[in-house]
Amino acid sequence: MNWSELDTWIVITGVLICAACALPGAFLMLNRQSMLGDGISHAVLPGLAIAFLLTNSREVLPMVIGAVAAGVLTAVLTQMVQRLGQVESGAALGVVFCALFALGLILIRVASDKVDLDADCVLYGSIETAVVDVGRVPRVALISGGLLLVNILLTLLFYKELRIAAFDPALATTLGFNADAIRLGLTVVASVTTVLAFESVGSILVIAMLVVPAAAASLLTHRLHWLLLFALGFAALSAVLGHIGAVTLPQTIGRWFGQSDLGATSSAAMMAVAAGGLFLVAWLVAAIRGWTKSNPVKPIETTMSPASHR
């Protein structure tokens, strides 16, 4: 393959954005809210419709503002439904994002059926084209780097609170802070990260990176700081392997079937596939360790299981 500056930037941006998503993703997993990103990818629709109706514009900025508002609303409403309805967090998310998506469809049908206004068309970017930019450094790389930096700083600042809120909310109350507030903060940050990442690199990569690196890491360790570092590592590795795979695999596989003219496939999608591959490796490693050692890594216990006081 001919490696070019384009590839370098795709990989750099991929590493930054994947890591930026994997960090809140790890905490979402511990709080059993892994599917938040998937929910938000649907829940942005009313945000887009309302932003369009208010501004009569399909420019990126109003679309992103509308989408961020809808994402934050999803996080807040999910928490409310979970508290008031006494339901499991996944079910609460299901209620909220389906309702918001349906509201979006109604808004589009009633108000803007004559204009092409779906998220694919006006919001989701793609990593391959986003890195083409006028300046020295593509805007998308700066956004991804900024997101990662903010998420790392927030993790460091609230490390203790996030850990206790995830593992032992009762202790949080004893220590004098509100576990619900911390978890709400987490979902809001995760929502903003998700929407901004959608705008940069599209939906599938973001959803995968919120879930898979954290899930793979949880197979290998039950120490929180190791979990976070493994998740960041898996995310970065997925980005690198994914892009290389997107460029080289179609040709290699095509050759087996006698086709030599196959071009590259979607880099974002291959990064998600690579994350899946790494999960498989992590699972194999965990399984082998389970067979050979007397103390395998146990599944992480979270708030949903009673009596996790240690």
């Binding site: 590493v15 004559k114 204009v115 779906d118 391959e128 890195v131 083409v132 006028v134 976070l228 880099s267």
Partner: protein, 332 residues
């Protein structure tokens, strides 16, 4: 702060440092405007643009179309190879009017970096363009459905290429003139064939709103089942209203599109059957993408010829089975 947390912090700071270094290296080089080399490369988006650019550029340039048959240009996601082709292109033509969605951003950036980039719809008169009444400025992009509109697009191509490559300007002019004559013939054929449909049956019912220019140009009422956006869904009330319409007007045929799902069309046929009126599928129309490359339907002229001939024959008008140029694949 305990020891583990300290370790954690140092590691994270190391990661931040590394990413900062990564961000500061190897920017994508800025291109500058350069004269066109012999046998230069033109990159185009959807098939309709690719075809007219090929007709005008002839053997002077290599034309690379990014989107193949059956591709919905609203949803197309470019791959790394596509972006490499765009970056290496000497000239880029795209359709415009938001047809290519967020890819448009990329074209604007490539243009600011010095590659000549043109939207083939950029010269169209505002009076020609269709806008929904409530949303000024959000134009319907399916201009190629009116041959007169695409003739304007050909003029954009020939003017741009003549400006960039003045040495071959006469060659491009000659190609364009020959092609425009053919398009003129196509336009007359379409007018004549569709006018032969009995007036009360001159209604075109399809899956989505891609045929508004077609309807205006050739005097046929157009009803799309779902809106322009692919996220929009047809409600039960819409379907029922259309079924009433079909039964009342005794419409003999409705149409499916090559790049849109046909489940709503099937609902209409079932609805008609329940009311004792048999409406059939009149054929598959090309709306946002052309037919197989290498076939007659894989060219712009073939695509429009196919649509016109299929519609005219299915609704009871007069048109030769093999179309204007006798090259259409015979209907099964």
């Amino acid at each position: 702060m305990n020891l583990t947390a300290m370790h954690f912090l140092t590691r994270l700071l190391a990661i931040i440092g590394l990413s900062a270094i990564a961000v500061s290296v190897a920017p994508i080089a800025l291109g500058a405007t350069k004269p066109l080399p012999p046998n230069y490369t033109i990159v185009t988006t959807c098939g309709m643009v690719t075809d007219i650019v090929r007709e005008v550029a002839g053997d002077k340039a290599k034309v690379i179309g990014l989107m193949g048959e059956g591709v919905d240009p609203h949803l197309y996601k470019p791959t790394r190879d596509d972006v490499v082709k765009i970056l290496k292109a000497d000239v880029v033509f795209y359709s415009g009017l938001m047809l290519e969605g967020r890819m448009t951003d990329t074209f604007l950036k490539v243009s600011r970096k010095g590659t000549p980039v043109f939207a083939v719809t950029e010269l169209l008169d505002e009076k020609f363009l269709l806008e929904p009444e409530e949303f000024q400025g959000h134009t319907d992009p399916h201009v190629w459905m009116d041959v007169a509109g695409w003739m304007e697009a050909v003029k954009v191509v020939v003017r741009s290429l003549s400006d960039l490559d003045a040495a071959n300007a006469a060659y491009y002019q000659k190609n364009a003139e020959r092609y425009l004559t053919e398009l003129q013939k196509l336009d007359s054929y379409a007018k004549q064939a569709l006018a032969s449909i009995p007036t009360e049956r001159r209604v075109l019912i399809t899956a989505h709103d891609a045929f508004n220019y077609f309807g205006r140009a050739y005097g046929i009422e157009v009803k799309g089942i779902q809106g322009i956006s692919t996220e929009s869904e047809a409600g039960v009330a819409d379907i029922n209203k259309l079924v009433d319409f079909i039964v009342a007007k005794k419409i003999p045929a409705i149409f499916v599109e090559s790049s849109v799902s046909d489940k709503n069309i099937k609902a209409l046929i079932e609805g008609g059957k329940a009311r004792g009126h048999n409406v059939r599928i009149g054929g598959q129309l090309f709306s946002d993408a052309m037919g197989k490359p290498g076939t007659y339907e894989g060219t712009y002229i073939g695509m429009i010829d196919h649509n016109v001939t299929t519609i005219a024959r299915a609704l009871g008008g007069q048109a030769p089975e093999r179309g204007l140029n006798g090259k259409l694949t015979a209907a099964k």
